[in-house]
C-alpha cells in the first residue's frame, strides 16, 4: 500500500509519531529519511529504542528514500516517512517518481531564533515558507496537523499564521 503519511517533524521519531499516529494507523514501519541519522549508528540505535518491536525502522538518506519509495509502497503494512526539515521533504518529492507523494503533513517545526511562529507547533523562516510553497507548486497537498484528532490546517492558513 502507498505510504500512509509523509511527515515533516524536527523531532523525527517521538511520541506523537509512534503513539499518536502509529496506533490509529496500525503502523508497520517508519522510514526515517535523514542524511545525518543515516550516517550515525548511535543515533539509529537511539531512535530504534523508541519504537515498539513490531514496527520496523528503515534509516535512509533522503535521496535513497526517494529511490526506494516504490519498494516501500509495495509493503502491505501501513508506513510513515519522516523528514526532519521541509527542505529534505522537498528534495525527496523532487527526486521521487512523479506523483508518488500526494500529500505532506507538517507535524512539528519548532521555535528557533530565526523563525516566526505560524501555529502552536509550526515556526518558519522565510526560506522554509518558500519551500512549503514549492511543495505545493509540485502538486503536493500541504497541511499542518500534529495529531490525527486535530484539524488539518491548509497551507494558506499556515502561512498566514492565523489558525490555532
Amino acid at each position: 500500500m502507498p505510504i500512509s503519511l509523509f511527515r515533516i517533524d524536527d523531532r523525527l521519531v517521538h511520541g506523537q509519531v509512534v503513539v499518536g499516529w502509529g496506533q490509529p494507523l496500525k503502523l508497520g514501519f517508519i522510514v526515517l529519511a535523514d542524511d545525518g541519522v543515516a550516517g550515525e549508528e548511535w543515533e539509529q540505535e537511539l531512535y530504534r529504542m523508541g519504537v515498539p518491536p513490531n514496527v520496523d525502522v528503515y534509516f535512509s538518506t533522503v535521496d535513497d528514500a526517494a529511490r526506494a519509495l516504490e519498494r516501500y509502497s509495495a509493503d502491505a503494512r501501513p508506513g510513515v516517512l519522516l523528514t526532519g526539515t521541509i527542505g529534505a521533504m522537498l528534495r525527496l518529492v523532487r527526486a521521487a517518481p512523479s506523483g508518488s507523494v500526494r500529500s505532506v503533513n507538517v507535524g512539528g517545526i519548532h521555535h528557533r531564533d530565526d523563525r516566526v511562529q505560524k501555529l502552536r507547533y509550526v515556526f518558519l523562516t522565510p526560506d522554509e515558507e518558500a519551500e512549503l510553497r514549492a511543495l505545493a507548486d509540485a502538486g503536493v497537498v500541504v497541511t499542518a496537523q500534529d495529531v490525527p484528532s486535530a484539524h488539518a490546517v491548509p497551507l494558506s492558513d499556515i502561512l498566514r499564521g492565523d489558525a490555532s
Binding site: D10, R11, L12, V13, H14, G15, V18, V19, W42, L46, Y47, M49, G50, V51, P52, G108, I109, H110, H111, R112, R120, Y121
Partner: protein, 137 residues
Amino acid sequence: MADDSQTPSPHVPRRAIVTGHGAFPEGLVSAVQQITGRGEMLVAFSNAGLGREEIEAGLRACMENVHASVIFTDLPGGSATLAARRVLRDRPELTIVTGANLATLVDFVFADESMSAADAAAHAAERGRVALATVHA
C-alpha cells in the same frame, strides 16, 4: 518549570528532573509536593513546543542548575527520553528512569540518604512498576 528558588532541606539533598509531554512534569511534581512536601527535590521540565535541540539544551541547563543526577521521563520513546539519552552519552553519572509515575517519584524523594542516586532511582523504578495494577470487582 517548577520553582527552583528554594534550597532543599539538609536531610533531602538529592534532586532529580521530571520531564515529558505537556503538563505531565508539572503535574507529577505538584502531586509529589501535595503528598510529601518534598516537591523541591524535583524540577519539572516539559518538552511542549520545543524542538530536539531545545529539549536537550533545557535538560542540560536543568542538570547544571540543580546538580541533578537522575532524570525521570514518561514515554520510553518520547522526545524527552531521547534527549535525556543524548545527555547520558557524555554524562555517565546520570540515571534515566522511563515510564515514571507518582509512586516512582514518591519513593525517590523518600529514599534513604545513604543510597546513591542510581540506587534510589532503581528502587523507585521498581516501586513504580509494582504500583501498576489492574483492579477487578
